[in-house]
Point group: D2
Chain length 261, copies 4
């Protein structure tokens, strides 16, 4: 069974910036999805900001194993209801990969609980990504490092929680470093942040970048059934306790009553 992957693109600069349109005539999302579909284990589709409900209906999320997100100029245009829906899908077990400027996207900030800020510079400088976790499945097929001749700089401090694992750290020509590949788990969902991908450079035509994203789809995929209610907080009645106990003391709730939220 293939991993049902949805590549979400903001699809703004592809329409408004000549350079971006030349590099990605069908959009970055289409470029990435095309590369993923070369992997026999992945079946990738696309959705964009401009679609109804941004292409992220409850039904579509229920049929998505891994969601990839790229956004930049229009973070604020993403509907908060859709953001919550996406996060609940992650908590229920959907894998999610955030690319580049998606560090400031609503769902990433929501899932991190942190400012997710950084320093940046747009100078087309050289970036070199070093593997910091040997033989990590996300880095499969990558030697100790790979290079991107032209990229935007992102610099530390990167305002994210300490990850489960740091998979890549970037070196920049202008003197900065950045933790470029970070893994997290939120609820039952695996989350990966991957830094490269400024839209005015041909980053998503780079074979190493595409290899990492492909690896990350496999890593993020959780084959377990999606949790039915990923936010439920069920009461366990006294007579259903694993060990026999007797109720003592004063209670706030009546039997069977829901808790406060």
């Amino acid at each position: 069974m293939t991993i049902r992957t949805l590549v979400w693109g903001e699809n703004v600069h592809e329409k408004t910036n000549k350079r971006v349109a030349e590099l990605y005539p069908d959009g970055m999302h289409a470029c990435i999805a095309g590369a993923l579909n070369k992997d026999a284990g992945i079946s990738a589709e696309t959705a964009v900001l401009q679609d109804a409900e941004h292409g992220l209906t409850a039904e579509r999320l229920a049929n998505t194993d891994v969601l990839i997100w790229w956004g930049h100029a229009a973070h604020g245009d993403v509907d908060d209801k859709v953001v919550e829906r996406v996060c609940e899908a992650v908590w229920g077990g959907m894998g999610m990969i955030f690319l580049h400027s998606a560090h400031f996207s609503k769902p990433f900030k929501r899932l991190m609980g942190a400012p997710c800020n950084l320093t940046w510079r747009e100078a087309g400088e050289r970036e070199r990504l070093w593997v910091t976790s040997r033989n990590h499945p996300i880095a499969a097929g990558i030697d100790n490092y790979f290079e991107l001749e032209n990229e935007e700089m992102y610099g530390e401090p990167f305002g994210v929680p300490e990850p489960l694992e740091t998979v890549f750290v970037s070196w920049f020509q202008g003197g900065e470093v950045f933790r470029s590949g970070l893994t997290y788990k939120r609820g039952a969902g695996n989350v990966f942040y991957f830094r490269p991908g400024h839209e005015t450079y041909p980053t998503y035509h780079n074979e190493n970048v595409l290899k990492v994203i492909t690896n990350a789809v496999h890593w993020a995929h959780n084959p377990a059934a999606r949790l039915a209610d990923s936010t439920a907080a069920p009461n366990v009645p006294v007579d259903k306790a694993p060990e026999k106990i007797e109720e003592r003391g004063v209670t706030l709730h009546q039997a069977g009553e829901a808790g406060f939220r």
Copy 2:
């Protein structure tokens, strides 16, 4: 210099439930603050939901080193603007301690980026909290475990991110376990979750519980100056790069322009 601590209480059940009022005639927040003020290194005040801006104005947060939060019945009544203000203070370096049912409070869910759900039972059963990180400063003065004869049960799975450190794990008479003391860092701020404290039991009169909360205030306190703008993402101009570089390629932004958010 003392640690300026603010104990925030929802202050609802103290007014509406006879048993809670008997246990905490001045409110749980006052009970906790009173205990903290016995520590020469701490200076504790209180604020409640019913205060203007919930007692959490920007000025007051700027003068708070550690904020303690207890809420239950009225999570939904907390103003989203205040929640965001509190989280920004944490990201800037304010310590924060969440107690018991605050697992479902807005600021905790916001900082965790996770559902924060659990199972629960209100049966006045015995809880035994085991130390899982030897000599952790938050557990100072606690032997391998301590007991609470009557508590509400919270059970795993607890829907929070993997913590930096697990300090306590609880055993419940009815057969469940729970990770009861968890440390996190969000931005520059230290965060601690501590499980005990159901309002119909005398938990905040227990000396071990009060010792842990007192320890946690010291642990959470970050003596560094609060970050001026904890969410800023400054541009580093090409001529200010640590290493000399020359701009290459096409840029999206004009020099000095702010990034997209």
Copy 3:
């Protein structure tokens, strides 16, 4: 391609204790390997302490994807050279699973760098293992918890490093708790500790225990090629630096010289 799994057993109490011999006439290692071989993706063999080089020659380790370790009475009889060989295999990418009393085995203590101590009681009491990481692949097929009616108690504090993820926490009838399923990475190798398995109880005939061990083999398996020299610290000559630099200052080493170890 199947995961080549080697189940290592100390094989002492099976020979000397009547009860253990009745429960595991061919040894616990054979019982576990038999269960693993029911999984089409796993090919399991066994090795024991009494084999030449404990059955763990360099060649055999090179052909092992995942090593499972059970020891108790004879930890001290394991040859230090074999221990180092096993650890180097882990650092090179071999997965490793430690069961029950293997918390005090030489390779586990060596890989943890910590005392790995705990409290214990042999009373045939009830243990209930709770899942603390929802939908973790190691817990696949397990509901929120499962029970073992008779087990040895292991209690906190458990003297191990903070894990990457806590997958199970145990409740014991006598009042203790224990972090029973913990994941680590050491070098390129995935490591899992799983608590149950006292030899006088039929634990390795329990279907949930066997399910978890089977899951853990899949989780621990790293399909990447084993690192050729997992402890090498290569010099990068000045003329091979990724960026062009010139040597400055006084050097300790001559060009091409090995570093100090």
Copy 4:
């Protein structure tokens, strides 16, 4: 009460290399201890490899709150019994800081359980250390980064376990990156690795380096009493169980017998 700090130096190159002797006429250990003693809260002494028992008797370790370790050429000359004694002190609560080439020292490798390898180049190139954990107490007084004009390069992958927190990441002129400040806990002891300090450069005369080491002493100090036996695994007799239980099933051990190790 001041933090009793012991700076341990291998003290070999100071005696055999002209450049090192010029930079550190009294040894690097004396240079570091001198800087620490300027902090009113720290009382620092020194010990060297050539002292009886390397200056690390059981009594001296019992009176040391934080131990700092620098070694390079003579790792192999450190007595294994002393290494074990040092590690047990850490497990009991002694703080420990490893500097630079101590990544390959026996106690660091023992505490990490990992190869601790890296790549390296001795070219006197520029290093820039970036803070990756804002307002971390170990980085107090450091802006977003600081520079060392001449240092040895250490490059990723660094073969250590994922840390509790990554505090510094280094940029090197020759194109590599390195996680230069990492925190761990082993038993009750706090451990910090800090990268800079090649002996042919004046690194330990740099005020930022000395500031970080001073901060790290404060961070690593655990004021709790040292654990009496940091490796004990006590039996809990049935009649001392926190909850009343009755013994069931067959036991391996007689009452009061010690466990297997």
